[in-house]
Structure formats: C-alpha cells, structure tokens
C-alpha cells in the first residue's frame, strides 16, 4: 500500500517569465530514476507542493515526447502560486502525479486538429500541440486559434511566432485590447473561426480557456457542424488530492481529477452539478 500523499522532490531547473504574472517552471526530479519512470499523457496534471503552503493542481504544459523538459505554467493568483513565483532556479518543490485521464492522442491520428485557447488555457493544450508537432505525419491539418486580454498576456510568445512561421500548421492570434506595437487581430477568440476553413466531420476541436470563452466557442463549433464528441475540453476544478478522495472536484458522482479533466462536450453536458 502506498502513501498516496507523499510527494517526490523536484527542483526548478528553469524559470521563465511568460507574462507579468505568469511563469513557466521546468521541473527535474531529484531522484533521476524517478524522472526516468515518470510517464504521462498530454492533458494530465500534477499536484505541486510549495513546502510550507500545501499543494495545488497544475496541468503539465510540456509534451511527453520531450520527457527531459517537464514543465508547468502558473499564473500568480493566490497564496500558493505567490509563494511558487518567489522560488528560483535550484529551489525545491514537491510533485505528485501524474493524475487524470489526459487526451487520447491515438484517437486523433489521421484527424484534422483545431486548438482553441484563451489566456492561461493554452498550457494544457500546448502539451498536446507539441506532441502532435513531434509526430506531425500522423495527423491531418493543425490549426491553432489563441487569444488573450492584451498582447502582454499572451503566453509562449516565442513559440507562437515559431508556429506562425511553420508551413505545416496554421496559427492565428488575437487580443481583446491592443497595445502600441500590436498589428495583429483584435477581438475575442471565437472571431478567429472566420479566418479558417474547417471540416467538422474530420476534425477534433480542443477548447480550453476561461468559462465564458469555452461556452461561446462550443456554441460556435456546434453551429459549424461539429459533433458533441468531437469537441474536447479540459475542465478546471479545485482538485485537492488528485485521486478522487477529497471531493472538491466532484460533479455529481464524477470526479474531474479521475474521470477527467479531459471530457468531450457530450460528457460535459451529462455532468450534473
């Protein structure tokens, strides 16, 4: 029987600013054997401990195809994340996981993929995006639609530029409010649907972002002719334990931490609060 709450120790191998309040942390297990044995799927999450504060769930933002760089992207928004942001390279944190079902990558083989993300909703999709790009030939058309409040709030700015330049994918970025120097699109993410041609019957749509954006994006996708099962999202809940025990993330008799966090829209509609 395992001590299910005992974290492994990891240290921060790299800390990188994404926006004024969001950082990406690269984790390395202190016990390298643990690092080698750590396997995960895109869409799964970790319980990250900041010692002295407790632990909280964060999605894995890096791809399993790049196991050497386990990353998570965190916005500073409460006690624990404030404390995490004060840590620097070499500092230690605790890690439990990976938890949750994750995205079914094999089910996406041969399909066109449409990623729709808002704000801090890009990190969980980034894990899948890099997985797809690292196995590019297995998938059809890849399209990314991403938006944030302002150009400063866009995460992974360098990667967005890289993706925009690639010829084997299409990337559109928008902001709600422009700042000086911004020459791109202004408006909410769903407006970007007008810029792309999608074939709903052969496409899987991955949606993640603030609740209001998810709602509107799903409505638009349904209107475009997407089946409910082809619209896939990853839900956020206050997941304290990650193993279906603490009940914080329960919706009806389903647990976001175990049955999710990845659900298709058909499943989401069946969840009764």
């Amino acid at each position: 029987m395992n001590d299910v709450f005992l974290p492994d120790i990891a240290w921060l191998a790299d800390v990188c600013d994404e926006t004024p309040d969001t950082r990406t942390f690269r984790l390395r297990f202190r016990d390298s054997k643990k690092g080698e044995d750590f396997h995960f799927l895109p869409g799964q999450f970790l319980e990250l401990s900041v010692f002295g504060y407790g632990e909280a769930p964060f999605c894995i933002a890096s791809s399993p195809t790049r196991p050497e760089a386990l990353e998570t992207t965190v916005r500073r928004t409460g006690q624990l994340t404030n404390a995490l942001h004060k840590l620097g390279e070499g500092d230690e944190v605790g890690v439990r996981g990976p938890f949750g079902n994750g995205f079914n990558v094999e089910a996406a083989y041969g399909k066109d993929l449409l990623f729709v993300a808002g704000g801090i909703g890009l990190p969980p999709l980034r894990s899948l995006i890099w997985n797809v790009l690292d196995e590019r030939s297995r998938f059809g058309k890849v399209t990314i639609l991403y938006g944030a409040r302002t150009p400063t709030d866009l995460v992974y700015k360098q990667e967005l530029n890289e993706w925009r330049k690639r010829s084997d994918m299409e990337t559109h970025v928008t902001v709600d409010a422009a700042q000086p120097g911004w020459s791109g699109t202004v408006g909410v993410v769903p407006l970007l649907f007008k810029k792309v041609i999608v074939h709903p019957e052969s496409t899987l749509a991955y949606v993640c972002g603030p609740p209001i954006m998810i709602r509107i994006a799903i409505q638009d996708l349904l209107a475009l002719g997407f089946r409910e099962e082809a619209i896939i999202s990853t839900l956020e809940r206050m997941m304290q334990c990650g193993i279906g025990k603490c009940n914080h993330c329960a919706i009806g008799h389903r647990y976001v931490c175990r049955d999710g966090p990845v659900f298709n829209y058909g499943q989401i509609r069946e969840l009764v609060e």
């Binding site: 299910v4 603030p210 609740p211 956020e236 009940n247 609060e273």
Partner: protein
C-alpha cells in the same frame, strides 16, 4: 461466535485492553458532557450515556490529520509519510458509529487505497454497545445501522442485566477477547435468544416518522427535485458546516502545511461542502457559489443512487447528530421529508 462476560469482570477486561493498547471510550467530563476520549483507567468508561456529539471518527480520521513530515535542511527538503500504528480499542461505541467507521474504511480502501487511514483503521478494534433503548433523535433503523448490528463490528456487546453478551465479528474481535480469555464463557442459548428479543423490542421503539430514503433517493438521482426547493432549503442553511463536521460518514478534506518548530507537517483537515470556498478556484470562478447548489451537492453525495451503487450504502448512519447541530433545520430527516413531500416545512 457469542461469548458472555459477567458485568463485574468487565473492568478486568478493560485493564487487559489498556495493557495491550490505547482504549478510546465515552467518558464524562467534569462539566458533565460525554465525549469519546482516550482513557487511563477502566473506571472512566461510562455505560449509560447519550451518544457524544462528536463521533469517534476522530480516531481514524482526525480533524487535523498529519500525513507528511517535511524537514528543511538548507535548500533541501526531506519528506516522510507519518505513520500512526497505535493499537486502539474503541470501546462502547454506538452501533451507528461502528457502521460509520466501516463506511469510512470502505471509502479509503477504494483504489488508490489510502495507507494513512487504513493503517489506523487496521489497528482499531471496534467494540460497540448495542442500543437496547434507541436514542431520541436516532433513525438508524432507516439506514440499517442499528439499533443492533449484524456486521461492521469487531465485537458487539449487549446488556443482559447481570452480564454482557459478546458477539465476535472479526479476527480483531477474537483477539480482544483473547486478551483475557478466562473472563469469558460461551454464551448460553437463553442468552442468545434474550439478545434477539431485546433487538426486536428496540426496533419497535422507533416511531412512524423517521427518515424514508427510497423516494428521496429516486428524486435526487434523477434530478427531479425542483430547483426552487433546493433554493428554499439553501436559504435555511447557515453555512456553518456543523452537519459535515459531526457526521460519522463525512470525510471531505483540504490539505495545509502547518509549522511545528521548524518542521512542516502536511495535514489533512476536515472540510465542508457547505462552505462557499469549498469549490472556489484560484481564478475566482466558483462552480457552486450558491447555497442551493451546495445543499444539493451534500444530499446528492449522501442519498443518490449513483453513490449508493458505488458505496453500497447511503452516506448516513441515522445517528441524528445533524438534527442536533443544525440551527437551520436542514438536517437529514428534514431534507429527505421535504424532497419526498415536495415542500419545505417552513
């Protein structure tokens, strides 16, 4: 297997149990309250008592439950799981509470099994005192958790006047008897039949208006409780969380690191699904911001067929503690009755 022990010999048995481990039992405080506590002597154990307000779940799932010790050493940290392997005897628990602990144990055995809890429950011997006279607020008869039990105990005592009948329900119960084998004799047929009669008499003590779960379960499970009714009941809830804290089957928790002289102890702390912050996310989004939604959550978890199928029981042992603590009257029987009748009592 049923034994009998003379009442005057029970003190000796308790003394043997005190030598073998920790004994937890209802005791009377100097102020007159009765509560479950670790005892130092057999005389402290009370035999005629109202069931304490706080259930003995404290001894398997403490309110502040240390789970991981975190030591700082400069920039480095060492973590270690906290193990509580104390052998404990829970003596004179009531049937409902024995059933409550059995419920919690089933929950924590579900994969992934929770070693921290199971280490405690594995070392706990539950000896319940069957309720010959049901307590005024109890409705254990509706939840199949009393007044007498047919399982969920290690040993069950029944007061037969001059002696106690001791039914052994597990190897742990056998071991508890084996601590003082000379004090016990095989129960006679007459004693066993008197226990049966006492059970029938106790069952007849319950009134008509107890807690009828079946139709409430049907409605909760199929989402047929009107939103307006949840809202009305939510209006009466004071969000104190008392119902959860005294419930023998509630186990929701949060995790915090507490500083103990330079060492952090990561603790599991009891939490309540009735608190607004229970589902509050760091982003500020709260999927159950309204009281009616939290009220619905509590009763869905306890009474729905979905959870009944998973847990093998309703999440209620009929102890009546929520009736006692709830100032807003949104206790189990009141809510179940309101759902069954389709209206709140006002």
């Amino acid at each position: 297997m049923a034994f009998a022990i003379e009442k005057r010999a029970v003190t000796k048995w308790l003394e043997k149990l005190l030598e073998a481990g920790e004994v937890v039992a209802p005791v009377r405080t100097p102020c007159g309250d009765v509560l479950f506590s670790t005892v130092r002597s057999a005389e402290q154990v009370v035999w005629d008592f109202p069931n304490p307000l706080h259930p003995p779940k404290e001894f398997v799932l403490p309110q502040t439950d240390p789970i991981v010790k975190i030591r700082r050493n400069g920039q480095h940290h060492e973590v270690e799981a906290v193990h509580d392997g104390t052998r404990r005897f829970l003596f004179n628990a009531r049937s409902c509470d024995a059933r409550g602990i059995a419920f919690l144990t089933r929950m924590h055995e579900m994969e992934p099994a929770d070693a921290s809890y199971l280490r405690r429950s594995g070392n706990l011997t539950v000896i319940n005192l069957a309720c010959v006279t049901p307590c005024p607020l109890g409705f254990c008869i509706c939840t199949d958790s009393g007044p007498f039990l047919s399982d969920s105990y290690d040993a069950q005592l029944t007061d037969l006047g001059k002696s106690y009948l001791v039914e052994v329900g597990s190897a742990k119960g056998e071991a508890a008897v084996a601590e003082a084998p000379s004090l016990f004799r095989k129960a006679t047929e007459d004693e066993v039949s008197r226990r049966k009669n006492l059970e029938v008499a106790a069952r007849n003590h319950f009134g008509e208006e107890t807690c009828h779960f079946a139709s409430a379960m049907r409605r909760i499970s199929t989402g047929r409780v009107p939103d307006a009714l949840w809202e009305k009941m939510g209006d009466w809830c004071l969000e104190c969380g008392g119902c959860n804290l005294v419930c023998p089957t509630c186990y929701c928790f949060s995790v915090k690191d507490l500083d103990r002289d330079g060492t952090w102890i990561r603790c599991r702390l009891r939490d309540s699904c009735q608190y607004a912050a229970f589902t509050l996310e760091a982003s500020g989004h709260n999927p159950r911001a309204q009281r009616k939604d939290r009220m619905k959550r509590r009763f869905f978890h306890k009474v729905s067929a979905q959870y009944y199928t998973r847990d093998g029981a309703v999440g209620c042992v009929g102890c009546g503690r929520c009736i006692k603590v709830c100032l807003g009257t949104t206790d189990m029987p009141a809510v179940v009755a309101a759902i069954r009748k389709g209206k709140w009592h006002e």
